[in-house]
Structure formats: structure tokens, C-alpha cells
């Protein structure tokens, strides 16, 4: 069966998909449904199995077990060239011996389309590279190559377009520009985009839905806002943005709130925001939700949590100031304060209160490493 352009797109479904390389499990019993027409991101650190998942969907990697469905079609055993799926490769993989026109026309010609000129020209319009058809890939800049790679895949109107770190090779400014452009194109053409990235900001800018992957499994799935506001695992809380997490005990309830004990201090948290099942929890709050108040000021606000500490570092970054505050029990917490103009600047050594709305507090299962998901090595260049 040959893939037909513009066929009624169905959801992409992965059912208990597993891939191991020898003894290493790259993708571990992954089940996932990606709705037709959505912009979906697979986000995770390098080695989490996201690229392997993508390659299995493309047909470039054979799953060890599990099935892949496109709509009602089981495509698991179909070869790459028989799937209505196209990929934008990480380093574009443009054919160096063909010019831009022939690169873009490649897929159409393989499917026996004779008159490709109109379609290729329209595609060059979409990626705003009219008149570049006769050039060779080596004569293009990184951003231009990226667009050609996109055009080469899009022209086939696949049911699913796979993007493997498509912006990884671009510099920051160009990357921002291309993010918006990709989003625009996706909205225009209305295809399903599955985007693999380790860059959380990139995923959040573009995707409707993000699946955060770790160790071959999906940690959490949801909209960018949902994932950020309500992380359900330590990994997600740390990997997606930053979180202040401290170990706590649930000591009682008060209406819809839970009462917590952190190193002898009392905190409260909405019971609805607790993901943990036992009494031991990791309690967290995003650093930009915390206000830093100089010691001595009145902090006795109803419905707020307060912790005390000493500022050990304050770094001014323009839009915000980032404070590192050491708690009495030795743990460092982070506060991000917007530089709106009327705030009190604290310097290292100052005693301060950390104050935040109790409803911004969330609770996570207290198993495993409290630092899991914090990226220690900058991966931007990988």
C-alpha cells in the first residue's frame, strides 16, 4: 500500500512500545496517543529514549515489542518508505549531491509524481526561500538548510511529521525565530507534528501537548501550563523549569488543606495538589512564586507559607534578580524576583523571610533523589 497524500489523518498511537539495545532498555513499554493535528513534543534529557521512539515511528528502528498505529492502520512492520510519516533530521541530512529543488522533490518523485515543479515552488514559498531551487545545500546557511529540510518533508503532506531536534544546530536568536515559524506552519498545514527536544523552552513555546520522558518512560503528559504548574513527579518539577523541593511530613488536615512539618516549621498545602500517597512528601514551590522579605518585616499573612533563611548569593540578570537563600538546616532554596522597580534589594548575608501563597505549594511522592532531573551539564550544544 502506498501512502496517499492528504488521507484522513488518524491519531498516532503507540502501544506498549519497547526497544532495547542489547541489555540497555531505550524505550520501556511506552503507551501514548497523539491526537491528529496536534503539535506534540517529546521532551527529555539526552539518552531518555525520545529519539529512539521517534525513529521507531519513522520506521528507522524496529521495536523489540509493541505496536504502532496510524489511525486504524498497524504500521509496526511497515518499512520506512511505506509509512505516511516524514522526518526532519537532526542535522537535516540534506542530500549534498542534489540541489535544493531536487532535494525537495525527492519524496514526490519516489512516489511517481511526474510534475513536481508547481508543488516544489509552492513549498519554497511556504519556507520563504523562493529562487533557491538551483543552489546546493552546502551553499545555504544553517537556518536555510533547516527550512529546506522542513520543506522536503512537508511537501509529502505526511500524516505525521517528525522533528528530531530540528533547531539544535541553530544559534539562539535563529532558534527563537524558527520556533515561531514552525508553529505558524503547523497551524497553516494542520498536520500532526511530533517534536523531539531536550530544550524545555522550545517544547513549551511550540507544543500543545508535552510528554516528559525519562529512562525510556513517560513521566508526565499535559499542556505546557499544566506541566509547569502541576508537576506530578520530582523529575518533571526539576527538569521543566526550576523547583524548590524540601522533604516534609504530613501532620494533619485543615479543611481542604494539608498541614505539613518541615524541619519543625509549619506549612500548608491544598490537599488537591498533593500527588504523594503516604505521609512523607517532597513539598515544592516554583522560585518565581516566592517573595523575599527582609527579616523583621511583618509576614503574618493568612494563607501564606513562610520560611526563614540567609541570603548567600544575589545575581542580577536584568529582568529578574535570582537569590540563593540558605535555610537553617543547610538546604539552599532559590527565589526569582522580578525587577519591577519598587522592591527592596537584598545582598548576601542578609536575613530574610521566604513568603508564598500556600495554594502555590505542591506535594510529590518522596521516593528517589530529590535532585532528579536537575541538569548539571549544559546540554544546549549537544
Amino acid at each position: 500500500m502506498t501512502p496517499t497524500a492528504g488521507a484522513p489523518a488518524g491519531d498516532l498511537r503507540l502501544v506498549e512500545l519497547t526497544k532495547d539495545f542489547g541489555s540497555a532498555v531505550a524505550v520501556d513499554c511506552l503507551s501514548l496517543t497523539i491526537p491528529a493535528g496536534s503539535f506534540f513534543a517529546l521532551l527529555g534529557p539526552s539518552g531518555c529514549g525520545k529519539t529512539t521512539t521517534l525513529r521507531m515511528v519513522a520506521g528507522l528502528e524496529e521495536p523489540t515489542s509493541g505496536r504502532i498505529y496510524l489511525g486504524d492502520d498497524d504500521v509496526t512492520d511497515r518499512k520506512a518508505y511505506k509509512r505516511p510519516v516524514n522526518t526532519v533530521f537532526q542535522n537535516y541530512a540534506l542530500f549534498p549531491h542534489l540541489n535544493v529543488f531536487d532535494n525537495i522533490a525527492f519524496g514526490l518523485r519516489r512516489r511517481g509524481v511526474k510534475d513536481v515543479k508547481a508543488q516544489v515552488d509552492r513549498m519554497l514559498d511556504v519556507v520563504e526561500l523562493q529562487g533557491f531551487g538551483v543552489r546546493r545545500p552546502s551553499q545555504l546557511s544553517g537556518g536555510q538548510q533547516q527550512r529546506i529540510a522542513l520543506a522536503r518533508a512537508l511537501i509529502n503532506t505526511p500524516q505525521v511529521l517528525l522533528l528530531d531536534e530540528p533547531l539544535g544546530a541553530l544559534d539562539l536568536k535563529l532558534r527563537r525565530q524558527m520556533q515561531l515559524e514552525l508553529k505558524r506552519i503547523q497551524t497553516d498545514v494542520g498536520l500532526t507534528f511530533v517534536h523531539v527536544t531536550h530544550d524545555q523552552e522550545e517544547a513549551m513555546t511550540m507544543a500543545d501537548t508535552i510528554a516528559v520522558m525519562n529512562n525510556g518512560k513517560i513521566e508526565q503528559l499535559g499542556s505546557p501550563v499544566d506541566l509547569y504548574e502541576n508537576p506530578s513527579t520530582v523529575f518533571v518539577a526539576n527538569f521543566l523549569g526550576q523547583s524548590n523541593l524540601v522533604a516534609a511530613q504530613i501532620v494533619g488536615t485543615q479543611g481542604a488543606d494539608l498541614l505539613l512539618d518541615v524541619q519543625g516549621r509549619k506549612l500548608t498545602m491544598p490537599a488537591a495538589r498533593n500527588c504523594a500517597t503516604g505521609d512523607s512528601v517532597y513539598v515544592g514551590v516554583r522560585p518565581e512564586k516566592v517573595r523575599l522579605v527582609p527579616a523583621g518585616a511583618s509576614v503574618d499573612l493568612p494563607g501564606h507559607n513562610v520560611l526563614d533563611g540567609v541570603v548567600i548569593d544575589a545575581s542580577y540578570t536584568g529582568v529578574t534578580t535570582q537569590y540563593v537563600v540558605r535555610m537553617a538546616w543547610g538546604q539552599d532554596l532559590m527565589v526569582i524576583a522580578a525587577n519591577v522597580g519598587n522592591e527592596v534589594r537584598l545582598t548576601a548575608g542578609a536575613n530574610a523571610h521566604l513568603v508564598w501563597d500556600a495554594s502555590d505549594t505542591f506535594g510529590l511522592e518522596a521516593t528517589g533523589d530529590i535532585a532528579e532531573g536537575i541538569e548539571t551539564i549544559d546540554e544546549a550544544g549537544s
Binding site: A26, S46, G47, G49, K50, T51, T52, E61, E62, G168
Partner: protein
């Protein structure tokens, strides 16, 4: 990023063997089998007219060594000196092309290889004429009282070594160039940034990084030089005969196949032992 390599597609498992088998079969029949024939022949006795029979005559090897041992020593010494000379000549050349030639790089590379497309025998004959007793090179050197064997150049071991060096030079230049060209000039700059004087930077950084090229180049020069007999024939005296001369004569003129095979086998085994020792010493397994 993660880039899982090698995906085994169903049904492709036998493909490599299908691709390999014609060529491998060829090499087995026309390379390995002849080696076995050669080894067997060296242990046979008889003569060309009556035919040879296998008698496991190991004695032939000691006889061969007494008669032609000095040919082996000469072949290997000539090849060694020629290899060292070729390295000394080729290294600056390869270095200059790789680092100093700029946009003339490719042109220079072509110029370096081009002379060797003039037939091997023709250019060796040219050396014969250039080094001739009545030639301008010899007379110039003579007038300068340059020390020469018997006051001549042609028909001396110097001429043979000179010819060997010359003829196998591209086998030295090309691998050297390939490994030098791969060196990122910034590493050398980093070395000089870290207080290495140019000579130290070369000794500690450039040269070690070019070692694969040195190993490949010296092997590709030494092996053909040790087996060659064209240079010895055209440029040397009867006292400069190499193993190749004897093998050629015994096989094609005297038809003494057993002794000729023994010579050939010894040559092969000696080369293989030297090569494997050298490769192990140099620590580069990656030459193929």
C-alpha cells in the same frame, strides 16, 4: 544526542556474505592457494624437466640461507635506508602541503603524484642516465671532489638506494599528508599558547598526531622496496643484487623452483614478522 547505530533489518543478515564472497573467493584462489603452492614447492625436490615431488626437504632453507643470506641482509638494509630517506624527504613536503600551501594545496598534491605516472621502469632508466659516469651530475660532483664510491654514482649501492627512495616516495607522502591534514591547526596553536616553542609543539603535538601516517607510509615504502629488483638491476652493480634478482633468476632463468620458492617464502615470512612487530610497537592497528 542518542544515535543508536546499526539496525538489523530482517533478511539482510546474509547480504554481507553475498557481497563478500566473489572477491573473497578470488583472493583465496589467487592469493592464499598460491602461497600454499609456493610453500609446498619449496619442500619438493626434482627438476624442471622431470617434475617435482614433495620430499619435505627442509634442508633447502639452510642451503638457501648459506647461498643467499647476504642478499636478504642487503635487501632489508637497502629498504631500511631508503625508507628512512623517504621519510626525511616526504615529511617536510607533506607538512608544507598540509599547513603552508593554502589554496595551492590540491595543485601541489597533484604535482607530487604526477611524476609517478611516468612509467616505473622509464623513470628508473632516467635515473640510470642521470647518474651515468659521463653525465653532468657525476662530472659536477667529481669536480667538487665529492666523495663517491670508486669515483662514480651509477652501479653503486648509493644509486640503488637513491632509486628505491625515489620510486616509493608517493607511498610515503600520501599517508603522511592524509594524517597531517587531519590535524586541527588550533591544537598546535593551543600548544604554543601553553608555552611550547615551535620545535616542542612539533615534537609533542604535531608529530605524535601524524604517527598513523608515519606508520602507514614507512610500511608502504619498506615492503615494496625490500622486494624490488628493478632498481638493483638498472642502477646497481652485480654486488648490489637483491633477493628479488635471485628469485627472478631462479624462477625464470635457472628454473630451480624449490630454491626460488624457499627464497620467496622466507621473504614473505620475514616481511610479515617485521610488519607485525612494527605495528605492535607503533600501537596502530588501524592501517587497513
Amino acid at each position: 544526542m542518542e544515535l543508536p547505530k546499526g539496525r538489523a533489518r530482517r533478511g539482510s543478515r546474509s547480504l554481507p556474505y553475498v557481497l563478500l564472497s566473489p572477491g573473497m573467493l578470488w583472493l583465496v584462489i589467487f592469493f592464499l592457494v598460491p602461497m600454499a603452492t609456493l610453500a609446498a614447492l619449496s619442500l619438493q625436490t626434482g627438476d624442471y624437466e622431470q617434475g617435482f615431488t614433495l620430499t619435505w626437504n627442509w634442508h633447502i632453507y639452510s642451503e638457501m640461507w648459506t647461498r643467499y643470506g647476504h642478499h636478504f641482509i642487503r635487501s632489508f638494509s637497502y629498504a631500511f635506508v631508503a625508507t628512512v630517506a623517504a621519510l626525511v624527504i616526504a615529511y617536510p613536503l607533506a607538512y608544507a602541503i598540509a599547513f603552508k600551501a593554502g589554496r595551492w594545496k590540491n595543485l601541489l598534491l597533484v604535482l607530487v603524484i604526477a611524476p609517478f605516472f611516468t612509467s616505473f621502469l622509464v623513470r628508473t632508466l632516467a635515473w640510470q642516465a642521470i647518474l651515468a659516469d659521463n653525465g653532468w651530475v657525476t662530472s659536477t660532483l667529481r669536480s667538487l671532489h665529492f666523495p663517491m664510491q670508486d669515483g662514480r654514482l651509477l652501479n653503486t649501492s648509493f644509486a640503488v638506494i637513491c632509486g628505491l627512495t625515489y620510486n616509493f616516495l608517493p607511498f610515503m607522502v600520501l599517508p603522511l599528508y592524509a594524517s597531517l591534514e587531519r590535524i586541527d591547526p588550533r591544537v598546535v596553536e593551543a600548544a604554543s599558547d601553553l608555552y611550547a616553542r615551535p620545535i616542542t609543539a612539533f615534537r609533542r603535538v604535531t608529530f605524535p598526531l601524524s604517527l598513523p601516517g608515519v606508520v602507514a607510509g614507512t610500511l608502504l615504502t619498506f615492503i615494496p622496496a625490500a622486494g624490488d629488483y628493478v632498481n638493483a638491476t638498472f642502477l646497481g652493480s652485480p654486488q648490489d643484487q637483491m633477493v628479488g634478482n635471485v628469485v627472478d633468476k631462479q624462477f625464470l632463468v635457472s628454473n630451480d623452483y624449490p630454491i626460488a620458492s624457499a627464497l620467496s617464502m622466507t621473504m614473505l615470512v620475514a616481511i610479515l614478522i617485521l610488519v607485525s612487530l612494527y605495528i605492535r610497537r607503533a600501537g596502530t592497528e588501524e592501517i587497513v
